[in-house]
């Protein structure tokens, strides 16, 4: 009991220290926000002091209306400049400036996302290490967290360098536009820079203090620091998001782009929060992918069985984190899309049904392949376990279900065909496949794919275990029944969707998603409970897994990266020919929207550039390793994160 009290005390002190720390670090933000608001808004002051001082030539403060919030405010800034094509507004090399900016932006974003995501894993894993009672396991977790942060440290300086390159690219190639943005976001940009300093400081203390703060109270301070680190990181990201959100759905300015003195309106545009949420979740999935790739790389280069076991496990954990965040990602995306539709319906239709719709088909391919790869990795994981052979015979049926759903999922609404084929088919719509092209079929397909993935995971959890709890037969029957009902429900609703009006049909996705999610949560939870104290048919032999599984991890990582590039491009290009939507027009020669193929090439280039550099970073990281990671004695109980959730 006494120890527990001591623990609790430690926790309290740690949280107090943490609070102070956070307060100090976020101080600049709080100071600058009201200062920005009032400093940029002389209006309230105008009604009191200045008119008394100089009533004669006091100009009346011109007021104007916020383009989004519809409130009135004093005009503070200059209107958005009207650019013309030429070296004044668009100085250039003998090359498309937009492409250069694209590369700079995307590389900065990749590294930034990675650097923001990894500390979040570190925090969770380090915390797990602290609360785990098993000493060996705790050490293993701690080592893993340390490994993670080590990877991100090299990437961190690269992020800063790329950020610098990005700013220079903006300043040199788009000076007028950047000047306008800077004039509006002046206080935000400075806060951003200050926070970056705070982030660096915290990160270095966190990393270099790892060994010193290893024991007792100091360890709690250390883990608290990771919380601070992540808070700063998140605020940083949100501030950066406010710029792009402003470009897409401006607020806080009037219809000529004149700043109206309320910095909060400028930051808090209608798409800001959806983008924030989407990005945080996306960063986590992406970070998981990169770490999984790192683990795969180390696994494949490993010389000893211990190393192989460690990195196999690390890859599994990273993949697990990545996929955990992949599942809520579509919901965040849905919210963002809804807000886009609410903001400008045209923008929504350009995305989903118009010019950019084909890019969403590529995205559909990627989402499908991510799920397929996840399943494949889990099936390969069965090889690690003796006794899992009994599940391998089901794989072929699951392959069939997945591929069939994938085929439905990929059947395009508007088919690409030659006019000859069009005639042979007798119209734009195919009587059989046309039905796969609509929302109802897609919803059914994707939910079936996710449910099957859950089934794969449950199968994997069971691998080498046989439940011994008394109610095991009943539990099994319940699981079986639940999945059967789920499949029937999802597919039945998908078919029913053809017979009802669209507004009701939209509502059908709710029970479908609910079915999938309840399968996910109830199924995994029930399975975990059933496997408590289960009989093991054989040990989980970490490291004894096929090379193919590691390629699946690489595939996941590459696909995440590609998808991020793609979605970023879609979000950015939906502004079409605007720098700032409906306020500042892009009058450069590159205001057109590139072809899909060109975009795909650029995204590939960015992805590969990122991976070549990050492989280099990995290689650097492996140079610095003097000793092998803490050898986990083979055969010892190894944590499976799923069981603990």
């Amino acid at each position: 009991m006494a120890t527990l009290n001591k623990q609790a005390q430690k926790k309290i002190w740690a949280f107090l220290a943490l609070g102070t720390f956070v307060g100090l670090l976020l101080l600049p933000l709080f100071l600058s926000l009201p200062a920005g608001a009032s400093g940029g808004a002389p209006a309230p002051a105008a009604s009191t002091a200045p008119p008394v001082a100089q009533p004669a030539d006091a100009k009346p403060v011109e007021k104007s209306r916020d383009i989004w919030y519809k409130t009135e405010g004093p005009v503070v800034g200059a209107p958005a400049p009207k650019t013309t094509d030429g070296p004044k507004d668009y100085p250039r090399y003998n090359f498309e400036s937009r492409v250069l900016l694209w590369v700079a932006n995307q590389q900065h974003l990749y590294y930034g996302s990675f650097v923001l995501a990894v500390p979040i894993f570190c925090m969770v894993i380090e915390y797990l290490g602290i609360i785990t009672k098993d000493k060996a396991l705790a050490r293993k977790y701690d080592q893993l967290a340390y490994d993670f942060i080590k990877i991100s440290l090299t990437a961190y300086s690269l992020t800063a360098i790329l950020g610098g390159i990005l700013v220079f690219t903006y300043l040199t190639l788009y000076p007028t536009f950047f000047g306008y943005l800077a004039s509006i976001f002046r206080p935000v940009m400075h806060t951003y820079a200050l926070l970056f300093v705070a982030e660096s400081g915290t990160l270095y203390i966190y990393y270099y203090g790892w060994d010193r703060m290893r024991e007792g109270f100091l360890k709690w301070v250390h883990v608290s620091m990771s919380v601070v680190l992540n808070m700063i990181g998140t605020v940083l990201m949100m501030l950066a998001n406010s710029w792009i959100a402003f470009m897409q759905s401006p607020a806080g300015v009037d219809d000529q782009g004149r700043y109206l003195g309320n910095i909060w309106h400028v930051i808090h545009t209608t798409l800001w929060n959806p983008i924030n949420v989407h990005r945080i979740i996306g960063n986590m999935a992406f970070g998981g992918g990169v770490v999984a790739a790192y683990a795969a790389y180390r696994f494949l280069t490993a010389k000893t069985d211990e190393e192989r076991a460690h990195y196999d496990w690390m890859g599994y954990v990273a993949m697990f984190i990545g996929v955990c965040f992949l599942i809520p990602l579509p919901f965040a995306g849905y919210w963002l899309m809804r807000e886009v539709y609410a903001y400008r319906q045209q923008m929504g239709i350009t995305l989903m049904g118009g010019l950019l719709a084909w890019l969403f088909i590529i995205q559909a391919v990627m989402i499908g392949s991510l799920f397929l790869t996840t399943n494949y990795y889990l099936w390969q994981g069965l090889e690690r376990m003796r006794g899992a052979e009994r599940y391998q015979k089901y794989i072929k049926y699951m392959v069939f279900v997945l591929i069939t759903c994938f085929i439905v999922w990929l059947t395009p609404h508007t088919m690409v065909m030659t006019p000859g084929e069009l005639k042979a088919m007798g119209g734009q719509q195919h009587p059989v496949l046309g039905n796969y092209g609509v929302m109802s079929a897609k919803n059914g397909a994707i939910n079936t794919i996710i449910t099957t993935t859950v089934l794969s995971f449950i199968m994997y959890q069971r691998g080498n275990k046989v439940p011994t709890v008394k109610w095991a037969p009943m539990g099994n029957a319940f699981l079986f029944g639940m999945f059967t009902v789920a499949y029937i429900n999802i597919i039945g609703l998908a078919i029913y969707g053809y017979y009802i009006p669209a507004n009701v049909r939209v509502g059908l996705s709710v029970p479908q998603v609910a079915t999938t999610l309840s399968c996910l949560f109830i199924g995994v939870l029930l399975n975990s409970i059933m496997l408590k104290g289960a009989k093991e048919l054989g040990p989980t032999a970490w490291g004894q897994v096929s090379v193919r599984s590691q390629y699946a991890l690489i595939m996941l990582a590459t696909a995440f990266t590609w998808m991020m590039g793609l979605m970023g491009y879609i979000r950015s290009s939906v502004r079409l020919f605007w720098h700032v939507n409906e306020i500042m027009r892009d009058n450069s020669p590159w205001a057109f929207t590139h072809t899909i193929g060109f975009a795909a090439n650029m995204i590939s280039f960015n992805v590969l550039f990122f991976w070549i550099t990050i492989l280099f970073v990995f290689w650097l990281g492996s140079l610095g390793i003097k000793k092998a990671p803490v050898a986990a004695s083979v055969g010892q109980k190894v944590p499976v994160p799923a069981g603990s959730h």
Partner: protein
């Protein structure tokens, strides 16, 4: 089980054969060109590898690994060649508007495939870099699939719409539809808002005028069908089209010698410039026997539309009836006829650039403005006479000298409201105008939605001001 060396020979043979075949059969084709470009970029490295190969072959005659080393150099050379052909392909086909010859961006994924092959081939023989090469190759492979898919889909490039002309707000150069849209925006605050009840724009017209058939329009004539009706109105005896001096109104002519209107456009222009010149029966200021109009002069403060804006408004009035609107020059001439040179509003920058009117549903004022601005923006001035507020000489409603009026009215036996003080009475009259209606003014004229349009701060300012007003005394200074 798997003989890598044999595989290597086979691969080398295939690649070398393919390259040789292309060079031999198609000496002038694009592929040959590509290889030449690749050679131009990558010859130094290639030279190094060849030198190495020669050194291994002849310089190390005694080395037992000689065969191995030479073989590796050959493979390395092949991989290197593929890599640079891929880069050359990327460089030439990067953009369909590449310098010189037009490129084919569709071929770029081919580069990725070539690099994939090159990576995997080399991975077989260079043990130290094997994993890196394989991983890299696999990533190139995944990317090539995705990029290939993207390029396989038919391509569409979207050009931006033509840029608006510089300062292209010139009302005369707009298309008829754009001009009408601008007019609608001035009247109702937004394009397409003309069907929305309560929508009101900079021109503030819908406060009194109805615009749709059947819309409530008690304070001023409903303007539905006005282009046609104008022709009939002009024949009215009261309008006295022949001789303006015979008119029985407070102001007989818009300006001395301006005369009367002869077309519908001129009629509308005259109505805007001189509301008093002719008052439609029943819509005059109460008690003046339709000699005076409650409508403010539109080109003067506080509404102050420019001529360009009035052109847009008139265009809309015609266009929305499905009639061919008169040309902007005609409308401008009509206004010039009724507004003397000195009176004409200066074009203040681009028309329409001024503050947009309040948007339906949004509060009209923030409450931070000085009280006179509140009166103007809330449009009180249009109907009420408020001493001390410039322009507030309306006669649709009673004069707002509330310090004098209110105590008497609260005591009036007909008073049904709940107010007990002057302030409460003013508040009540603004929020629920029907609680007490001053005689002889009719009920249901004052809008009942000021409670929504004005916030507490604004109401307070209004009440503060009105409660100080006394009949016959100087109005207080506006802060």
């Amino acid at each position: 089980m798997f003989n890598a060396k044999r595989m290597g020979f086979i691969t080398a043979a295939i690649i070398a054969g393919a390259i040789a075949a292309v060079l031999a059969i198609l000496p002038d084709s694009g592929a040959t060109q590509l290889m030449r470009n690749a050679l131009a970029i990558g010859w130094p490295g290639g030279l190094v590898i060849v030198t190495l190969m020669l050194y291994f072959q002849f310089g190390r005659a005694k080395d037992p690994n000689r065969g191995q080393l030479v073989f590796r150099s050959i493979i390395g050379l092949l991989g290197y060649a593929m890599f640079f052909i891929a880069i050359a392909n990327y460089a030439t086909n990067f953009n369909d508007e590449s310098f010189g010859a037009p490129g084919e961006p569709r071929f770029l994924p081919v580069s990725l495939v070539m690099i994939t092959v090159s990576c995997f081939t080399m991975a077989m023989y260079f043990k130290g870099l094997r994993v890196l090469l394989q991983l890299g190759g696999f990533m190139f492979f995944v990317s090539s699939c995705l990029a290939g898919f993207g390029n396989w889909l038919p391509q569409v490039k979207a050009d931006p719409p033509p840029a608006e002309a510089e300062g292209g707000q010139n009302v005369k150069e707009m298309s008829v539809q754009d001009r009408a849209d601008m007019g609608e925006k001035i009247i109702f605050g937004a394009v397409g808002a003309s069907n929305t009840q309560g929508a009101i724009g900079k021109g503030q017209c819908p406060l009194c005028h109805g615009f749709q058939k059947g819309f409530l329009s008690e304070r001023a004539p409903n303007l539905f069908g006005v282009p046609k009706r104008a022709l009939e109105q002009m024949k009215d005896v009261k309008y006295s089209q022949k001789d303006a001096s015979k008119r029985d109104t407070a102001q007989k002519e818009a300006c001395p010698g301006c005369g009367t209107a002869s077309t519908a456009v001129e009629y509308i222009a005259e109505s805007h410039a001189c509301p008093n010149c002719y008052v439609v029966a029943g819509f005059g200021v109460k008690g003046t026997n339709d000699k005076e109009s409650p409508m403010p002069v539109i080109h003067k403060s506080p509404i102050g539309l420019s001529i360009d804006e009035m052109i847009a408004v008139d265009t809309w009035l015609f266009a929305r009836e499905g009639e061919e609107p008169p040309s902007p020059e005609d409308i401008e001439n009509a206004y010039k006829k009724f507004i003397p040179e000195a009176d004409r509003p200066k074009p203040a920058g681009a028309p329409g650039a001024g503050p947009a009117g309040p948007v339906p549903g949004a509060p009209v004022v923030t409450g931070d403005e000085p009280v006179n601005e509140i009166f103007t923006k809330a449009l009180c001035f249009a109907c009420h006479n408020i001493p001390g507020i410039p322009g507030a000489v309306g006669a649709v409603g009673p004069k707002l000298v509330e310090r004098t009026n209110a105590p008497g009215r609260i005591k009036d036996p007909a008073y049904k409201g709940k107010a007990t003080s002057v302030r409460e009475y003013i508040m009540e009259s603004i929020i629920t105008p029907s609680a007490y209606v001053v005689k002889p003014y009719p009920d249901n004229i004052m809008p009942k939605d000021f409670g929504k349009k004005l916030n507490a701060a604004a109401l307070n300012k209004i009440i503060d001001y009105l409660a100080q007003l006394e009949e016959g005394k100087e109005p207080p200074k506006i802060k």
